[in-house]
Symmetry: C2
Subunit: 331 residues, 2 copies
């Protein structure tokens, strides 16, 4: 059996209130008493039970970070940023995966309701807008990277439309006119916004948009390979491809290489996220980088502030940047 605050009080010869005061530095305690208390704490190897504390204080100092899966390594730096910032404010970040499966996600969000956590940050969700809005009325939640239309839930992310626009504009600037895009059938808002950026960049450069230049399938790299095959079979093949994720871009590069294309300035590929693989790949892959660490820090800070009564909401956009690598380079 572990020591409780009572045991410490008894040993130190003071009341439990005094122990609590020393523990929390919540009121003045005389130096002599403080020392006695600290000795008793050490002697009993006492650790406060947070269940008691949390129940009493109605808070846990834990923030839940929900990701669809940990397969996507770009979450790594976001998580790191959240953790560092949260720690600064006395909070811990716990991560869990929803597997993009509604019952899992609902179970985890139930932890807001049963007070297991103080807040939740969602990096993607399978909930509908209504459920999400309803939830945000009563609990402290935020979205990270993946926005929801028609909801003013606090959301920290980049401007996906502009990021895609910049990527495609760059492809145009190095001479491409027929530019394919690899997207997903799942209409995630970030994907839709990236498609819009692609379309705007073409339009501004007087290139007619042709729906057939967008290939949509799943998220994994085999879809990128399928995309490369698809583009290869077209009459007017694209000479460049913009993919909404690095996995897809890698698939395109892999298959295009097999098909004999010479990846670089002549046949260019741009991905999205700047996961570590893009640098390790041969050829290395040009990509759009999200400021993951900053995104993580920002969303954690705002969520902590919301827990303390503030009311940040709506979108907070941070700056993306293009990272230039071999897949768009002159040889």
């Amino acid at each position: 059996m572990e020591a409780t605050i009572k045991d410490v009080a008894k040993l130190a010869g003071v009341s439990v209130a005094t122990i609590s005061r020393v523990l929390n530095n919540s009121a003045a305690v005389s130096p002599e008493t403080t020392e006695k208390v600290n000795e008793a704490i050490k002697a009993l190897n006492y650790k406060p039970n947070f269940l008691g504390r949390n129940l009493r204080k109605r808070e846990t100092n834990v923030i839940l970070a929900l990701v669809p899966s940990t397969e996507q390594t770009y979450y790594s730096q976001i998580l790191h940023g959240m953790q560092i910032e949260a720690l600064n404010h006395g909070y811990d970040i716990f991560m869990s995966t929803t597997n993009s499966y509604r019952p899992h996600e609902e179970r985890l969000l139930g932890m807001l309701k049963n007070r297991t956590v103080d807040a939740a940050i969602l990096m993607g969700t399978v909930l509908d807008d209504v459920t999400l809005s309803e939830l945000s009325k009563n609990y402290c939640i935020a979205l990270c990277c993946e926005p929801r239309q028609g909801s003013d839930v606090l959301t920290v992310l980049i401007d996906n439309e502009k990021a895609a626009y910049d990527a495609v504009k760059y492809l145009i600037s190095i001479g491409h006119r027929r530019i394919g895009m690899v997207s997903t059938e799942v209409r995630a808002p970030s994907s839709v916004e990236r498609e819009n950026g692609y379309i705007r960049a073409l339009g501004e450069s007087g290139i007619e948009f042709d729906e057939r230049y967008i290939f949509r399938d799943s998220y994994d790299y085999t879809s990128g390979m399928k995309a490369a095959e698809y583009f290869n079979r077209m009459k007017n093949r694209p000479t460049a491809v913009f993919a909404i994720s690095d996995f897809l871009a890698a698939g395109v590069v892999k298959k295009a290489t097999e098909l004999g294309f010479d990846i670089g300035r002549e046949f260019s590929v741009i991905g999205f996220d700047n996961i570590s693989m893009t640098e390790m790949y041969t050829p290395s892959i040009t990509t759009v980088e999200q400021p993951c660490f900053e995104i993580g820090k920002t969303v954690a800070r705002l969520v902590v502030e919301n827990i303390s009564g503030q009311n940040h909401k709506g979108r907070i956009c941070l700056d993306h940047r293009l990272v230039f690598r071999q897949s768009t380079e002159k040889k």
Copy 2:
């Protein structure tokens, strides 16, 4: 203000004890009463406060999974396995990162002491053996994939020595005699065991072990590139390389390709972990696969059983397997 069990009791016209019974199915309650209670619960949109429950029951049904960082995607399937299995037993898995930084790890393990979590699973630790053993006396902890010598803490993993042995034996079987190894300066037990397997495989095949054929540096792929450069400068260059991680293997492949080596049967590379990149890479990389999902399920199950009073300890080994890809194939 949220509804509490008292509010529900009042509305349903019964005692709080009865509400609790209905909630937990812990004792017989008449059908009529049950219905009244359920109606009141629905009417008030009541959700039990787990802080109260947890305090009273002295448990949280939460298991903490600690990883050094989420950069290593091979944790993904382990986590998934843990989650699925834990859920079956009514537990949730929360993950947090230690950044291989002792204060962070200690803070997180403090959650065992302050009862924020019921158990912890460590996929790597920076704690010393004594601290770890001491901790395991009083709390429910387990190690996953990364063992500790001289500790009988429950550990679920593969036989790293045998896995490395198998990989190197395979390289020998396809004709290699000069085989380099890429390891890390940090003497993680799993790395040491893999080095031992490498040495045993050479010995059994009558190949003299030469310390210079082991290149040790850091974990990331640039170290793999350095290794390739190092091996390339040797008089009797290796014709094959076994790396203790896929990142290192990818670095070797990348640099060796740049140096003009033709990766495959003639110059072979084997990695470790089977992260998704090994399949996406060009050439795809032969590697040792750990049964991650099974490892996750197993450690979660054993930990849950330990929470309920059992005393599993020591090593539990699961089977690895070699995944053959282009980096060891005939062209």
